[in-house]
Amino acid sequence: MSGPAPLLAIRGLNVAFGPAERPVPAVADAELTLSPGEILGIAGESGSGKSTLCGAIMRTLPRSARVSGEVSFMGRDLLALEEREMAKLRGRTLSMVLQNPMTSLDPLYTIGNQVKEVLRERRRDGVALRPGGAVEVLRRVHLTAPEMRLGQYPHQLSGGMRQRVLIGMATAAAPRLLIADEPTTALDASIQDEILILFRELREAAGSAVIIVTHDLSAIRRLSDRAIIMYAGRIVEEGPTAEVFAAPSHPYTRALLDSLPRIEAEEVHLRAIPGQVPDLAQLPPGCAFAARCPVAQPVCRMHQPEESAVGERHRVFCWQAGAAA
């Protein structure tokens, strides 16, 4: 398959925590590629490994994490970089927005202070020193009355406004890749959409690629070009977003979509997925979803499912992928 050289290529990535004798695999055998300017959505519940995957790319995981595999970003293996080199990338070509807009800003400093600090740190073209530099950052994320905001403290801003400030700061240097970990979870629905639109604008204006990680399937469905579904540390399905949502191939993806209450439904009925998200420390030898899966066969409980292609760039890890849904 030809095409533009990937911006990011992850091969055989494994992240484990805990003692070496009884490792807890947070991410297992992850493979993914991302093209420049592509928006990739990663969906998963708590414990699915989606945040750990981001941490592995950014190299912000705690020391206790054992990471192996390859994370190639613009041709360089991030896992092999000196921390000094990695620090140069972070915030400039590779940037991140975190979930909690309440704790990601320092309550003791004004917004202007914090934005200017980032500009000084990340941009070399003197924008920080220009009087309008910080205002420009806030205006780009459509913050109302940006001049006034510079003098305000974080507690004077709403959650949505704070998230805008953080996105403005994270994208001040026009990164090649922005990773957003649950960027809209704490926000109201009307604000969520406005934040998602910012990511699309960033791609259009700067050509940045975006990885958005969330448990909100609707955000992924509407924003991303490609979608990855994770379960218990593994990618279970990956494909073009429209295809994954219209024709989900993994029983987990199907069950997840079925369990969502929908406002359009005339008669509201819910199909709950039985059971609980598995404990990563006690994963079965086979497919982690087998215990909750409606179509599981003996083979599913014994062996890890292999990849099968179900369409153009659409792959699924399921022994029953060929079987009728």
Partner: protein, 339 residues
């Protein structure tokens, strides 16, 4: 007419809550912030009233008043025909048994030092049931919410989020309440277990004839559980009615936007609701939504629209309901608040 139909379980009439902010200076006039203004609704026994709105809309303040955690500044809240803010101590004790709550955060609302059997029987002990007798009821309470018997000996950290919320529900049900206040009970849960908790809540309601006040921001979730829905904006109800009407044929421009945003089929950016809730210290004149409403005009800035009935089981507070209903109102853009 049966007495049940005549007397709703809950009735709110002109419910208002203003909070006093500390004065800026020693002799300054203290400012007030109206969190809830003139909210009226009724919940028939055995039914669910869903209260939706953005954060800061006052929906949780209404829930807290029903729990008697805060006192209203004006208006009445009656449960089974009795005003809950003029109870004798004995009536209050009985009320606190009759009304129980399940909150959003299943991590913060369970004591990490108590085992599950103590957690679920704590309300019984608080209401004077001897410890041994209370303890004996634990297995049955756990079974009722689908938790295995061995769960009794575990501590909260040993449970998943969904199981913890089951514990919280078991605890609320321990004293055989008639009314449950559910404040965002599934918002913190994983998607795959959210449906389990919602179906459990519905099953409990049917089996025990419970009345629910369900506070939530996810319209699809509210739709699943509610018979009647109230939409709050900036402390006021802007639309009220049967869930199928309010959420499927919304009348207020605010509800229309919320419903469109909640629909998975709406492409990103096709429907926008720009701006955020106005500053509570200087609310706009007239209609509170006019600063974000695409249909606002001079009437909206001049006059506060009152709730009026627009059909059976459906009321709305909007000057332009008629024109909007027939699609005869052009989008003129929001009326921004003039300085």
């Amino acid at each position: 007419m049966s007495t049940d139909a005549a007397m709703p379980m809950v009735e709110a009439e002109g419910l208002t809550k203003a909070f006093l902010l500390p004065a800026k200076s020693l002799f300054g006039k203290p400012q007030t912030v109206s969190a809830v203004v003139d909210v009226s609704f009724r919940i028939p026994r055995g039914r669910t009233f869903g209260l939706v709105g953005e954060s800061g809309s006052g929906k949780s303040t209404v829930a807290k008043m029903l729990l008697k955690l805060i006192t209203p500044t004006a208006g009445e809240l009656t449960v089974e025909g009795k005003r809950i803010f003029s109870q004798t101590p004995a009536e209050e004790l009985a009320y606190r048994r009759k009304v129980q709550a399940v909150f959003q955060d299943p991590y913060g609302s369970l004591s990490p030092r108590m085992r599950a059997d103590r957690i679920v029987t704590e309300p019984l002990r608080a209401h004077g049931v001897p410890a041994r007798e209370a303890e004996a009821r634990a297995p049955e309470l756990l079974r009722r919410v689908g938790l295995p018997p061995e769960a009794a000996r575990k501590y909260p950290h040993e449970f998943s989020g969904g199981q913890r919320q089951r514990l919280a529900i078991a605890r609320a049900l321990s004293v055989d309440p008639q009314l449950l206040v559910l404040d965002e009970p599934v918002s913190a849960l994983d998607v795959s277990v959210r449906a389990q908790v919602l179906t459990l809540l519905r099953e409990m309601q049917q089996r025990l004839n419970l009345t629910y006040l369900f506070v939530g921001h996810d319209l699809a979730v509210v739709h699943y559980l509610s018979d009647t829905v109230g939409v709050m904006y900036f402390g006021r109800l802007v639309e009220l009615g049967a869930a199928r009407l309010v959420l499927r044929q919304p009348a207020h421009p605010y509800t229309r936007r919320l419903v469109a945003l909640a629909s998975g089929d709406t492409p990103l950016g096709a429907v926008r609701l720009q701006g955020e809730l106005p500053n509570p210290l200087s609310p706009p004149s007239g209609c509170l939504f006019r600063t974000r409403c695409p249909y606002a005009d001079a009437t909206c800035a001049a006059e506060l629209p009152q709730m009026r009935q627009v059909g059976p089981e459906h009321s709305v507070a909007c000057h332009h309901y008629e024109a909007l209903a027939v699609g005869d109102k052009a989008e003129t853009g929001p009326m921004l608040q003039d300085a």
